[in-house]
């Protein structure tokens, strides 16, 4: 008996390019004086579609995840649905009260106390005064700020600030909740608490749309997942399938796509490949065999010595493996280039997709380069480890070799 609560048809949003360099009044006046008629007409400006032709239906009680790269239009879609900005094309109909959490601490004022901010932020997010009064003790308890509730929030640590902000937001009770990336805050313990709260929210039958880079969180909380790419809808389906597709595409080198990276840049990786036991580049690595990765790049002079670390991550964001040898250093040729190979004997990871993060630096001194999701590969079944073919890394990350002995 669930009904459609959000119905959107071919939503599109067109932005002018270069919003930051919006001309000042002088410019506008000047244009007007020079060519009065022309400036009254719509100026020809380069525009781009942050969102184009997105249609969707969300049923009551659904928990919907929204994934996509930076600039894929996730936040734009959320902003349209929460009425912050208006679409250029299409329309949407929303049945029920909408609450949007697009940042932590919306409307907080540093000079006001925790108590005052709880009321202010609550009101801005759409709670009524008596709602807030009723839930106030609960909010304070959730934020664990009993002692500091009458201190101005400018004296709060960032952790306290975030806790209070999330506590207020968590007690919002709209029928439709739109959430953007707010889970990525606070310490681990508090994050868990927030995830628990989000879970409660979805179990209470409320409709939730959640945007996150953390596919793990999406996988855990959502039933259905939308994948946006360059403003268009690429996939819309059950959460596991969509996430897997998305994760694979993340690591596939594409044109116009650059690695998400950090570090000082004294070493820069430029290419990476995963190789099978025969040393040939492969997208699949069999269980129980050796495998290796090769990485090429440039370094600032041959004198720069660096360590390399590998990190394997599951699509859910679980850190699966860490490979690092602090005594093994690499250096570039006099021309400033390097090609290295790192071999990992006897892969015991369970079958499934993995993402690979690559790091170069001097332990404890400097991070030269850190590439997140440098590549991805699948671990597949092999003849060396005999497990049934339905077994994946959802059963466990590592395979253990059992040596059974009957004792009695």
């Amino acid at each position: 008996m669930t009904s459609t609560v959000i119905h959107a048809e071919s939503l599109g949003k067109n932005y002018r390019r270069g919003l930051q360099t919006f001309p000042g009044l002088r410019h506008a006046l000047e244009n007007f004086l020079r060519a009065p008629l022309q400036s009254l007409r719509r100026p020809k400006q380069e525009t781009f579609w942050a969102l184009k032709d997105v249609s969707l239906d969300v049923r009551e009680g659904e928990v919907l995840g929204l994934i996509g790269r930076n600039g894929a239009g996730k936040t734009t879609l959320l902003k349209i649905l929460s009425r912050i900005t208006r679409p250029t094309t299409g329309f949407a109909e929303i049945r029920g009260r909408v609450g949007s959490l697009l940042e932590v601490g919306t409307g907080f004022h540093p000079e006001l106390t925790g108590r005052e901010n709880a009321f202010l932020s609550g009101a801005i997010l759409g709670m009524s005064k008596c709602d807030i009064t009723r839930k106030f003790d609960e909010i304070v308890a959730f934020a664990e700020l009993e002692k500091f509730i009458d201190t101005p929030v400018k004296h709060y640590s960032s952790g306290m600030y975030v806790r209070l902000a999330f506590a207020v937001a968590a007690h919002l009770e709209p029928e439709i909740l739109l959430v953007d990336e707010v889970l990525a805050v606070g310490d681990i313990r508090f994050q868990k608490k927030c995830m628990g709260k989000m879970d409660d929210v979805s179990k209470a039958g409320r409709t939730v749309i959640l945007v996150s880079h953390n596919v793990g969180a999406i996988g855990q909380l959502c039933h259905r997942c939308l994948w946006l790419e360059k403003g268009s809808l690429v996939a819309d389906g059950p959460v596991d399938g969509t996430i897997n597709e998305y994760v694979k595409s993340m690591a596939t080198p594409q044109e116009n796509r650059t690695w998400e990276r950090a570090g000082t840049g004294r070493v820069r990786f430029s290419a990476i490949e995963v190789c099978d036991p025969d040393g040939l580049p492969a997208a699949h690595v069999p269980m129980g065999y050796d495998f290796c990765i090769r990485a090429a790049g440039i370094a600032e002079g041959a004198a720069t010595e660096f360590n390399v670390a590998l990190q394997l991550v599951t699509p859910n964001g679980v850190l699966a493996m860490w490979a690092y040898d602090q005594f093994k250093t690499f250096r570039a040729t006099p021309q400033g280039e390097f090609l290295i190979e790192i071999r990992l004997p006897q892969l015991l990871l369970m079958p499934g997709s993995y993402l690979l993060n690559l790091w170069a630096g001097r332990a404890g001194q400097e991070e030269f380069d850190y590439v997140k999701n440098a590549t991805s590969f699948d671990v597949i079944q092999s003849d060396r480890i005999l497990v049934t073919d339905t077994v994946t890394n959802q059963y466990g990350l590592f395979y253990g070799r059992p040596e059974g002995t009957q004792l009695k």
Partner: protein
């Protein structure tokens, strides 16, 4: 701009879906509610989101539904204004008092400008109180959209709440200034006349002027930050274009309606007249002022509504 229509705009709270889990106690309550709901045929809130179109739709009912938020914005403005200041609220009084002193000395004693037979301090202060209210309200109104840009880009509410809040918040300062004004009047042995019943009307006119101009300025400021620098200048000119430092009797009678096109001319002169009985009683000057206010306000509302859709994208 009928781009977002809410029907019905004022949703009774009784129609929200119960969200508590089903414990026996809640189940009973839920059953009761379901029963009562089945007899009340409310349609749920349906919000339609569309590209901007149309011309003029103030959605005043939606604004009314958000009155609590307006209250919280006003409350915040008042609370924050004097935090971490040493003498706090005294600033409200000190500013016009000092200006009064300067005016009395230079315009009164030295330049010997006429004062419609009032003692100079009373003459100046009775104009400075409404003027200070207007100037402060307009200036904070100008900046209100820019200052709240984080909120604007993160959550929806009728944007009209923003320019309205500083105009109303300023009334608190006005009340304090007005109390001091009454003391000043008493000190100089002036007695208010029956005309004082007109006072709220003049205050209301000042409020509408600040709001009307503020609507223009806040929307313009969101798009062109130049406005922020223009407004202080504008206020200086405006001060001398209004009968604060001189009586409007200096203006030749046949030009007074023209002079009245400055809404504050009508407000200030009227305020002084209502309080002390001196000066010009309402006439063509006030009529012109009232007409000007209506035009500015309607234009401001229209302009603000027109820009509202673009504000979140361009602020």
């Amino acid at each position: 701009m009928a781009s977002v229509t809410t029907r019905p705009p004022d949703e009774p709270a009784s129609n929200t879906r119960p969200t508590e889990t089903l414990s026996p106690r809640n189940a009973l309550a839920a059953a009761e509610r379901a029963f009562s709901e089945s007899h009340v045929t409310h349609s749920p809130v349906i919000v339609r989101i569309e590209p901007p179109h149309g011309w003029f739709d103030l959605r005043l009912r939606e604004l009314w539904a958000y009155r609590e938020l307006l209250y919280f914005f006003i409350w915040r403005d008042v609370k924050v204004r004097y935090k971490q200041t040493v003498i706090g609220v005294a600033w409200v009084v000190l500013q016009p008092l000092l200006t009064m002193g300067v005016f009395t000395l230079f315009f009164g004693r030295l330049a010997k400008l006429p004062s419609d037979g009032l003692p100079y301090p009373v003459f100046y202060f009775s104009a400075l109180v409404p003027w200070t209210y207007f100037a402060t309200a307009l200036q904070s109104c100008t900046n209100v959209v820019v200052e709240n840009q984080r909120v604007i880009t993160k959550v929806y509410f009728p944007r009209l709440v923003l320019p309205i809040s500083p105009v109303l918040a300023g009334l608190v300062d006005f009340a304090i200034g007005f109390a001091v004004l009454l003391v000043v009047i008493a000190l100089y042995h002036q007695r208010p006349t029956a005309a004082i019943v007109w006072l709220p009307a003049f205050l209301f006119l000042a409020l509408l002027t600040a709001l009307g101009v503020g609507l223009w300025m806040s929307a313009l400021n969101a798009l062109y930050r130049d406005v922020r620098y223009i407004v202080p200048f504008l206020m200086q000119f405006w001060l001398f274009a209004s009968p604060v430092a001189y009586p409007s009797s200096l203006v030749p009678a046949r030009y007074r309606w023209l002079y009245g096109l400055n809404p504050m001319a009508g407000v200030i002169e009227g305020f002084r007249w209502a309080l002390t009985g001196h000066g010009q009683p309402p006439g063509p000057q006030l009529a012109a002022s009232a007409a000007a206010v209506v035009l500015i306000l309607l234009g401001g509302l229209l302009f603000f509504q027109r820009m509202e859709g673009a504000i979140a994208d361009r602020v």
